[in-house]
Symmetry: C2
Subunit: 283 residues, 2 copies
């Protein structure tokens, strides 16, 4: 379990890694960090987000941690483990924050040496700004945390990972298979980012800020998007995401047809369903 | 101009009409109301939103106001004016809050008797709740107000209507032709409501609230929708709205193709454009 003497290493000190560090150190854990930029380490030390940190991966440093959280881009995560898993402590529990699961979890579990266990997790929290300087554990308040165990995981690791989510301050911790995660997140998160980008780019909006209401602002908040990360996530979840796009586009087509043919009944029936379903999502 | 001795009548005391009443009475104007429900009048009197109100349209009551704001569904607005314009005071300035303009402004200007002037306006503000009991002039703070004059309008009426917007507390008052209004609002507001309804209804989401992040919540806030009002607005702006839907759907198709073919460059180019354009819309 996640007893207070566990030492926790964050690999990748960006917005999410930094927010994990802040929440965990505040909860009393010893927190270390490995990241590429010395200035991120310096900032995190100054702000008290971590106890110690380094830009270099050595067995001396990396071998001292019981739990290792990877907050890296998916391809960097896989490369890191290939190169450095020998540095990690025997018995360490590894987890991640990656927004896709099938494309990383199985490969990692296959490649890990005996004595290391990896369990996937996805904190459903973020901001439209990046880097450790924007880190704040407040983004976890009221948010959801999903653990994605497989047959390769032990009950102890699952329990520890779920406790990690609660310790970080998430409002709800739940469990999904990697496959179901990728379907649901493809719909709830990836599709919504596709929609926001399409809406923001399909028409010249340069002069329109003087005419807009809140609805356009709401639908495009996430149109400020990290193109490196999201293009990678989209392509790693390609088949599921295409299915979710098709579901949505097909319903848009029905709405279009109802408008074109003046079918008030059909429009109102969809709007009633929409209103009823949305009620479940109020925070 | 909108001097303090002007008496202002609100016809239709719902969320928007009630919020107008509150803002105007607080600014020192005499405010009256005509609406269908006596309980709405009672509530507005109790809360001090209006000075007087009635459910009956008589020349004695309706003929005492210099400015009349119609906060009605579009078809109700047209019917009301046909039936009761004879009750209004000679020289009165009429305006509205309707979300479509071509379909109402020209018909009204054609049907009005000499001595009455109608100028269209659209407050870009609202909430997902309805009725005068949810009225609050706070919804106008930071929001946009659009005046849609035609050749039939006098400079004095345009100036008064713009001053009304500022008096209500809107952050930005601007002017568009009815045609340009319907194009822009078709895109910014109606298309976004279509998207929210499509997203909320295209997949069974009953169990998904435990897994969602903020992006799905943001994109579906407006999926709680008044089906009477919005189906009417959609159909009154049918041709423009269909064009905006097609623009959006076509761009969704390009994003789909880029994902299907693994075209990282195309995806990232759209995401960069999206990020750049969204920056203009921060409040």
């Amino acid at each position: 379990m996640l007893s207070k003497d566990k030492k926790i290493l964050i690999v990748g000190l960006g917005l999410i890694g930094g927010s994990y560090a802040e929440a965990l150190r505040r909860s009393g854990y010893a927190v270390g960090a490995i990241t590429r930029s010395q200035s991120s380490i310096d900032y995190a030390l100054e702000q008290g987000l971590i106890d110690e940190g380094t830009t270099e991966v050595t067995p001396e440093f990396a071998g001292r941690w019981d739990i290792v959280v990877f907050a890296l881009y998916p391809h960097v995560l896989l490369e890191w483990l290939e190169k450095y898993q020998h540095c990690l402590k025997d018995g360490a529990l590894l987890t991640d924050v990656t927004g896709v699961k099938c494309a990383v979890v199985y490969d990692i579990q296959r490649m890990l040496r005996p004595g290391l266990e990896f369990i996937g997790a996805h904190p459903m929290a973020g901001r439209e700004v990046y880097g450790v300087r924007n880190a704040s554990s407040a983004i976890f308040q009221g948010a959801n945390y999903i653990v994605t165990p497989t047959d390769a995981n032990t009950p102890g690791a699952i329990a520890t990972c779920e406790e990690l989510g609660r310790t970080l301050g998430f409002a709800r911790v739940s469990r999904l298979s990697p496959e179901r995660h990728d379907e649901i997140v493809g719909f709830l998160s990836q599709l919504t980012h596709c929609i926001a980008v399409a809406l923001m780019t399909c028409k010249d909006t340069g002069h329109m800020y003087g005419y807009t209401g809140d609805s356009f602002r709401d639908l495009t908040r996430i149109a400020r998007i990290n193109e490196q990360m999201w293009s990678e996530l989209f392509l790693l979840n390609r088949d599921e995401l295409l299915q979710q796009i098709d579901l949505f586009t097909s319903r848009m087509g029905e709405i279009r047809d109802a408008i074109a043919s003046g079918d008030t009944e059909a429009l109102q029936a969809l709007m009633r369903l929409s209103t009823e379903r949305r009620a479940l999502f109020d925070k």
